[in-house]
Amino acid sequence: MDIIFPCAIVGGMGLFFGIILALASKIFAVKEDERIPMIVEALPGANCGGCGYAGCAGYADAIIKGEAKCSLCAPGGSKSAERIAEIMGVSAEKVDKKVAFVACSGATDVAETRYIYQGLNDCNYANRLGGGPKSCKYACLGLGTCVKACPTGAISVKDGLAVVDKEKCIGCGVCVKECPKNVIKLVDYSAETLVKCHSLDKGKKVKENCSKGCIGCGICAKNCPEEAITMENNLAVIDTEKCKNCGLCVEKCPQKTISVI
């Protein structure tokens, strides 16, 4: 009897609560759009946040609500966009595969430094101390804030300069948002010839600060057979649509700023 009574009490409580929960799950059932799990399935599931929503599930939710377009997912590319468009019953837009690119050549032996930085290992902190230790105010600080932000581990820092592994990069653009110097840009995956500098300073100043920066001489623009290069604010800009990757500008550039990646 001593055993049966407590067992019955606890068992009874269990049964009672079980029934309550079973009823509650019926009463409080929330209807979820069945397309949400289907869209989540179609997304790559990296939860990188490149689309601007909190993870893949958040993006799926936004698509169902009609707030977001189907083509915002960079890692999934056109494959995901097509699947989602199919689920939503709209026509797909084409998505070009993008990759991150560090528009700076200022490695430790190339860029001049103004002072020795000994603070926290983070670009944002360094940037607050007069724009960081490098003389060029456009330069990559190389303290790896982008490395920490990258969801796929595609970025590494070599000689004080961030380097993107093109094959690992999914083009989500998280590093672009994170970089305090705005030195990282998204470029087409197919683009091979790129200007590794984004300094808008005049040629003389660039030369003082860095031995590889773009001085805005315009030699590349004159030599380009496709007329793909234009000079904007002392900086060479390559139109990736026109560029045929012939490599002539790489050869002609006196500063060796333009390179093939």
């Binding site: 609560f17 799950s25 059932a29 929330v30 902190y125």
Partner: protein
């Protein structure tokens, strides 16, 4: 008189008897969910919420246990009650108060069998056994214990955010430095209970 008593109970539960840093209860969520201040906030307030509800409900269940003369089944009965309560609250919030569910929802299942919640339920019984207003005492103590947890986890998350960027020696990186920081914070909180032992 009652008000002073309740104030003493809550101040004690928040500072001198802080659940995490002095009683060492609920260390798992304290270390697990303290990487960012935002999530620490969410977790903290979810704990406050559950502790208040659990204190009230376990007080009732304890009356039943005392009535049936089976107080020794306290632990198992309380775990059952708390788990059911959390499940129920989660479903209720999801249906009726979606904004609250979105901010607390993901943390609620984590607290189901949190030892701090069970701890507050059991301490309530032993602590306020002789009190005439034991129900009110229990609920206030539960809420204050939750606030103490919130205070501790938010302070700790702030420190950890700074630690992310600090230049830490290789052998201390990761968990070791986190545990050292937690123990330093704990020593600071121990100071509230005075130096005499």
């Amino acid at each position: 008189m009652l008000l002073t008593r309740l104030l003493m109970i809550s101040l004690g539960a928040i500072f001198a008897e802080n659940f995490v840093l002095v009683k060492f209860l609920g260390i798992c969520p304290f270390l697990g969910v303290s990487k960012k201040t935002e999530t620490a906030f969410g977790m903290g307030f979810a704990v406050v919420f559950v502790m208040v509800c659990a204190s009230a409900l376990t007080w009732l269940v304890n009356q039943l246990l005392v009535l049936c003369n089976i107080e020794y089944l306290q632990t198992i009965a309380f775990i059952l009650v708390i788990a059911v309560l959390v499940q129920f609250v989660e479903m209720f919030l999801r249906k009726n108060i979606p904004p609250l569910y979105n901010s607390l929802g993901i943390y609620l299942p984590l607290i189901t069998t949190n030892c701090a919640v069970l701890g507050v339920a059991i301490l309530n019984i032993t602590k306020f056994a002789d009190s005439t207003t034991s129900f009110l005492d229990s609920v206030v103590y539960g809420g204050a214990a939750g606030l103490g947890f919130t205070l501790a986890i938010i302070l700790f998350a702030g420190v950890r955010e700074r630690l992310e960027n600090a230049d830490i020696p290789e052998f201390l990186k990761g968990m070791p430095i986190v545990l050292i920081t937690a123990s330093l914070l704990s020593i600071a909180f121990m100071g509230f209970s005075g130096m005499s032992f």
